[in-house]
């Protein structure tokens, strides 16, 4: 891999990688069973530099902010590199947000350039608030020939064959603004520096080496901090290849393993669980005799790899299982939400170690990950090299808030000095998660201190962000909470949101009101829905500017009502 100590910025490191491995394949884009693109590092450069030059022709300068809203595909990485080449600050936005939410974050980030996929741009053009879009240049990918794209330009036509000028940046300069939450309340735009990324990349690739010939299967959105690091910066600075799959359908994921001989892949617990379910079904369908042989081989593999993984041995013992995954798979990475230990153990016993990790955008992605020395299914691993983890105010069992210090911690929340000061205290990032460090130095997580939930798809949902769906309810006031925030529970499974309803004075909660709540709830994306309501008959504590004091209200609820008072919807 490149010696990343030598580089000041992502643009500089990526530029060196494109020169170093011109003939290696760096990027494959597949959609179902079709291959849309296959690029070597040289071809990637040839695709990105004309775009960079056209950006510069349009006034793109050092520090200019440029947003990308695209599904998982090659143009995402090509655009990102062109932006870094020009010294820009990347604003990767979640394509799964609604167009209104995307417009809100575009405004907050003050992005001057936007690269968007056609179907997403179409939705943005139709959204309320579109007329206020401040981005002065919009590039739209894959627009059909006769499509109306308004004042936007076609990405495919936006290029200039002349040589662009490389714009250097320093390690302390902002590389990206990544939104960890806050479309409803105060947007949390994590400002990550070039140094943050380079340090994280060095730490991760030291544990899990990438090299030419390695193929990383990317199915998570590249706007996701994990995929951006492990599915772009990591492989590219090591001469490896990224295979983008533009669908999450299980059957095509399975096919991609064998077609592309995948080495690594990152997934969220839900997809890992789905793979487990599929394998267990296939095992159950085997004739009795073969099933017995398989069970014996799995047991043998488990015994022989107890201390550390032995890929060669596992591949020999469980040849058919490994061939179903292409024969080259070295490990999965999983994160973003809680993964059941039984699932991790299931794959480990098959000789497919799962690097279970823990992190957050504010920490520059990964904080801890399993190093397999030995494999542990009950923890989220040890801190990455260079990362310090401390438990604040531990209780009698050693459980307290996880705080983190290291070179990968974000510099700040964009335009939010108070929020930054509350989150990074004396250089320590307060994660809001509850954990304990065991005697072997592994971190175990037990729940959350903060008011949010994480779904099994790895989505962080903040109550403030969904409250606007309930605006105008015929109540005096309402507030959405994570149930485990109101009534702390030592679990990360089955987290739910609830709505607290305070009816108008003298009124009860009517059937009509409940029906209205249920109806609005249905219109939310399935993973954002609330699961019940809590009737409440006192005025909410408010700030001078009439905002709800959520912490105070939570205290009052905790002191007066039990969780069983929540009425399921």
């Amino acid at each position: 891999m490149l010696d990343l100590h030598k580089y000041q910025s992502l643009g500089e490191a990526l530029r060196a990688a494109l020169e170093r491995w011109p003939n290696e394949v760096c990027l494959i884009e597949a959609d179902r069973d079709r291959e849309n693109a296959r690029l070597t590092y040289r071809q990637f450069k040839q695709a990105a530099l004309p775009l960079a030059k056209a950006l510069q022709d349009s006034g793109f300068k050092s520090g200019t902010r440029a947003a990308i809203i695209m599904t998982n595909q090659s143009k995402w990485l090509i655009s990102a590199y062109a932006i870094f080449f020009c010294g820009g600050v990347l604003v990767p936005l979640d394509y799964k947000l609604s167009a209104a939410e995307q417009l809100q974050l575009l405004a907050h980030s003050k992005a001057e350039f936007l690269v968007a996929e056609y179907y997403l741009w179409r939705a943005i053009m139709q959204a309320e608030g579109f007329k206020d879009l401040a981005a002065r240049t919009v590039l739209v990918t894959e627009a059909p020939a006769n499509a109306d794209i308004g004042a936007a330009k076609r990405w495919e036509d936006f290029n200039d064959a002349r040589e662009p000028v490389f714009v250097p940046r320093k390690r302390e300069d902002a590389a990206s603004i990544v939104y960890s939450s806050g479309t409803g309340g105060r947007p949390k735009g994590c400002v990550l520096t070039h140094g943050n990324y380079l340090e994280q990349c060095m730490a991760l690739t030291a544990l899990y080496p990438f090299y030419p010939g390695v193929r990383y299967l990317s199915i998570l959105p590249t706007n996701h901090a994990i995929d951006f690091m492990i599915g772009f910066i990591g492989p590219f600075t090591c001469g490896a290849a990224v295979v983008h799959l533009r669908t999450l359908r299980p059957e095509y994921i399975r096919e991609a393993f064998t077609r592309y001989k995948i080495t690594y892949m990152t997934l969220v617990p839900m997809i890992l669980k789905n793979l487990e379910r599929g394998l267990r079904q296939r095992f159950a369908d085997l004739p009795k005799g073969r099933r017995r042989v398989l069970d014996a081989l799995i047991a043998t593999n488990r015994t022989l790899t107890r201390r550390r993984p032995n890929l060669k041995l596992s591949r020999a013992l469980l040849r058919q299982v490994h061939e179903a995954f292409g024969g080259e798979l070295r490990a999965f990475f999983v994160g973003g939400a809680f993964t059941e230990p039984s699932t991790l153990q299931f794959f480990y016993d098959l000789g497919i170690p799962v690097g279970n990790g823990y992190g957050c955008t504010e920490a520059g992605t990964v904080i801890t990950v399993n190093d397999f020395k030995p494999f542990r299914a009950d923890t989220v691993g040890k801190p990455l090299p260079g990362m310090e983890v401390r438990i604040l105010s531990p209780d009698s069992e050693g459980i307290g808030e996880v705080s983190v210090r290291g070179k990968t911690i974000m510099s700040k929340y964009l335009d939010e000095p108070d929020m930054t000061a509350q989150t990074i205290v004396d250089g320590w990032l307060l994660t809001g998660d509850l954990g304990r460090i065991d005697t072997a130095g592994h971190l175990q997580l037990f729940g959350r201190k903060k008011n949010m939930i994480v779904t099994e798809e790895g989505k962080n949902i903040y109550p403030e962000d969904i409250e606007n769906a309930f605006e105008g309810l015929s109540v005096k006031e309402f507030c959405v909470f994570a149930a485990n925030y109101l009534w702390p529970a030592r679990t990360l499974v089955g987290e739910q949101l609830i709505i607290v309803l305070h009816p108008e004075d003298g009124r009860a909660i009517s059937q009509g009101l409940v029906a209205n709540v249920a109806d609005r709830n249905r219109r939310l994306l399935n993973y954002k829905r609330i699961s019940g309501y809590l009737p409440w008959d006192r005025d909410f504590p408010l700030t001078a500017s009439l905002k709800i004091k959520r912490g105070e209200l939570a205290k009052q609820i905790r002191a007066n009502v039990e969780r069983s008072a929540v009425v399921p919807l």
Partner: protein, 80 residues
């Protein structure tokens, strides 16, 4: 091209077969995540089955923000 009503009916039938739920228990406005107790990956599986049946291609994003059979049928109808 069939009517939206026919398409909705076909979608309900396919969902009932795929997830082994009696057809009469499913209605066009049902929230399929809740009614079938499925997650988004399982819903994508249903999308594949729908594609094969109608001989069309539905990108994953067509399921974005959709949770009832009728809206799903509308998305399909646009591509028939």
């Amino acid at each position: 091209m069939g009517s939206l009503q026919n398409t909705t009916e076909e979608v309900l039938r396919l969902a009932s077969e795929h997830f082994k739920v009696p057809r009469e228990q499913l209605a066009p406005d049902d929230d399929f995540f809740k009614k079938l107790g499925i997650n988004s990956l399982q819903a994508l599986d249903l999308l594949t089955r729908i594609e094969h049946h109608f001989k069309i291609e539905l990108p994953d994003y067509e399921l974005q923000g959709v949770s009832d059979f009728r809206t799903l049928a509308e998305r399909i109808q646009l591509r028939l």
